[in-house]
Amino acid sequence: MATVTIADDLTPLHHPKTWIGKYVWSLDHKVIAIQYSLTAIAIGLVALVLSALMRLQLGFPGTFDFIQPEQYLQYVTMHGMIMVVYLLTALLLGGFGNYLIPLMVGARDMVFPFVNMLSYWVYLLAVLVLVASFFVPGGPTGGGWTLYPPQTITEGTPGHQYGIVLMLVSLALFIVGFTMGGLNYVTTVLQARCKGMTMMRMPCSIWGIFVASIMALLAFPALFVAAIMMLFDRLAGTSFFMPAIVSMGQQLGHEGGSPILFQHLFWFFGHPEVYIVALPAFGIVSDLISVHARKNIFGYRMMVWAIVIIGALSFFVWAHHMYVSGMNPYFGYFFATSTLVIAIPTAIKVYNWLLTLWRGDIHLRVPLLFAIGFLFTFIHGGLTGLFLGNVSVDVPLSDTFFVVGHFHMVMGVSPILVIFGAIYHWFPLITGRMWNVTLGKLHFWITLLGVYSIFLPMHYLGFLGVPRRYYALGETAFIPASAHGANESITIAALIVAAAQTIFFANMIWSLFRGPRAGHNPWGAASLEWQTPDVPPAHGNWGPRLPVVYRWAYDYSVPGAARDFIPQNEPPADGERHHPT
């Protein structure tokens, strides 16, 4: 497969001349990373607005005429899908993966820059198709982000005519685009590490992104197949998923399809997807904690193994999302067991983060605050996950707000907090400027306390039996009036949190132009990305010679060393051999 390799158009590197060549059709991984990130954040803001609209309806039902049941379902669906796929996956892998991999492993760029660029443009196309679905007759699909057939494509579900078609096409495009990027991330880690950079000298961030990319490459095909088969069912009248069904008094042409088959395919993608989002966050948070606590990450090897083991195990737990689907009960037994087994490596990671902080030289800077915030929300979400992993506990809680509270904690808020921390952490490298710290801390506290006041009460609502994806509760005898009070306060908190994000963006834009100069390596980090000759790194990253790596990425507070960190590319001093862990 002849593809452009760096070597093809190196000599030494292809330097674009025009502004368009530099910032639009760019082959530079750093520019592509920023393109990915900005696009993901832009579409993520749409999802944020949708969540505010949902909350307005739930907190103050009947006040807003333009939110009818159909709109509510469309908001739920688009919010969920955008957040999970188009924001988190794209930002963590397309954004951070692109930016960090070559810099952290000591490469000049991705191995196949052209394919990398193509990846972004296909992603952008996927986003545009998704956005287009808001404007077609009938609006976007309202089938829930899980898109279960038969209801997603039968009459009565909003967007069953065009919205769903655009959604499926957009997902297929996203997967194609991601695959081009993902192949690059994996091969770059395998092939383009600089001299001395063994796999076990890579920072945890890279391990997380690397394993998550492999998982995504293997899991997304399931969604791809499901999307294509559903398109066939919708457009060509096949019956892959559609059973014989009478809809609106009319017998449809379908016969014999299996909706459960769709659920299996969807969750074979859907569960690994949780970890595709979580593993990069795990990796990044390890590095944030280590750098800002001035300590090597506790149990580096265990951290790496845990990432690999979690990645592998997560392909064997998908049916814990299907306990109430009527599948064979023995399945439930198997999947509950495998689900609980994943808790072991996950718990190891949590202990190691805490032990890294233990007696560290802690600098409570904004990135570390977000990392610690992540520890709270993640432990919280992990514990409720133990509840839901058990069949007998899940059955009554299934499809209630307890589930909504759980997954927002564990895969909504937690990765978002890490992403904020990571942006605060790497912004000085990306732009060469520092943030305003006070605004950063304000943003952190409002966000952390805010998300707690949003999602903690949701668990309680779930215990009461408040169902998810309901437009309004109506007259329900078993739900006390206090639930309405909780709903109102959740909504107010959600609006505050949404509004507080303007602090973040204002700070970002202010710093971009007016922030103090960051200079070289402002955090005193040991990993390679901070050791580039220029800040921000220039095209080709490393100047005339690639760096040579002599040590792992966690030499912090080494006894006897001149500074409290030793960069990865600093040769060992005479006689330096072992240092205590």
């Binding site: 070597a7 197949v225 060509a236 030499d555």
Partner: protein
């Protein structure tokens, strides 16, 4: 370096680049071998077709005891063209193998000829698939895209049932598999086009032999996938 060896390295003990585990070459300015890229990609495609295969088996009802399958699965008599197309693909793969060998030996003429023959047979395969597709349509298994998206008024699903691929789901899978596999062949042809361009350039570019070998590898892989899928279709 074995996977276990890699994963058990103790990076904190070994500053320096002379230590046992450190064997990274200096790769500055050297071309990257696309072999790994292709290898990982083949992994992805394998996952894709394995998933299609498991969907096939599930829908067919081999998991009957677990509640799958609706009993509407029927045997299909394989159209003779299916056999012919398969034979074409085998020949195409053989030609690519020849091109790979010739390229390795530096036999330019032989490589060019076999490369062209291989690609041409690949195109012939695709054409054969399209003909097969039309034959199926002629025998009553419509792929009725036109009655799907483009009917603006009314619900497309309310169209008369005989306009659709109804009845035997095995046929629906046949369409699906042909489409997905065909797209991969098209992708292979793009790479083939690039290789051809380079093979007929004035001077032989470095790395051409490698590209041809990798093309051949991809082609064998697609043949294997096709044979596996064909096997599935025969199982009905």
């Amino acid at each position: 370096m074995s996977v276990i060896g890699t994963l058990t390295e103790k990076p904190w003990l070994t500053p320096g680049i002379d230590a046992a585990a450190i064997d990274r070459p200096d790769n500055d300015g050297r071309p990257f071998d696309p072999g790994i890229f292709l290898g990982v990609f083949l992994g992805v495609v394998t996952a894709l077709f394995l998933l299609i295969a498991s969907a096939y088996l599930m829908r067919m009802g081999v998991h009957g005891p677990l509640g799958h399958g609706a009993g509407d699965w029927g045997a299909i008599t394989e159209p003779p063209l299916l056999w012919a197309n398969t034979a074409i693909l085998v020949l195409s793969s053989l030609a690519f193998q020849g091109a790979g060998i010739a390229a390795g030996r530096g036999a330019r003429r032989a490589m060019r000829i076999t490369l062209i023959v291989g690609g041409a047979l690949g195109i012939a395969f695709l054409v054969g698939q399209v003909v097969l597709w039309r034959e199926l349509q002629a025998s009553g298994y419509f792929l009725a895209i036109h009655s799907g998206l483009c009917t603006v008024s009314g619900d497309p699903l309310a169209q008369p049932a005989d306009l659709f691929i109804s009845g035997n789901p095995a046929i629906a899978f046949l369409y699906l598999i042909m489409a997905v596999h065909g797209l991969h062949i098209v992708g292979g042809l793009v790479a083939w086009g690039r290789a051809i361009r380079r093979a007929f350039a004035g001077t032989v570019p470095a790395g051409l032999a490698r590209s041809v070998t990798l093309c051949a590898r991809y082609w064998h892989f697609l043949l294997l996938v096709w044979l596996a899928m064909f096997g599935l279709l025969l199982m009905t």
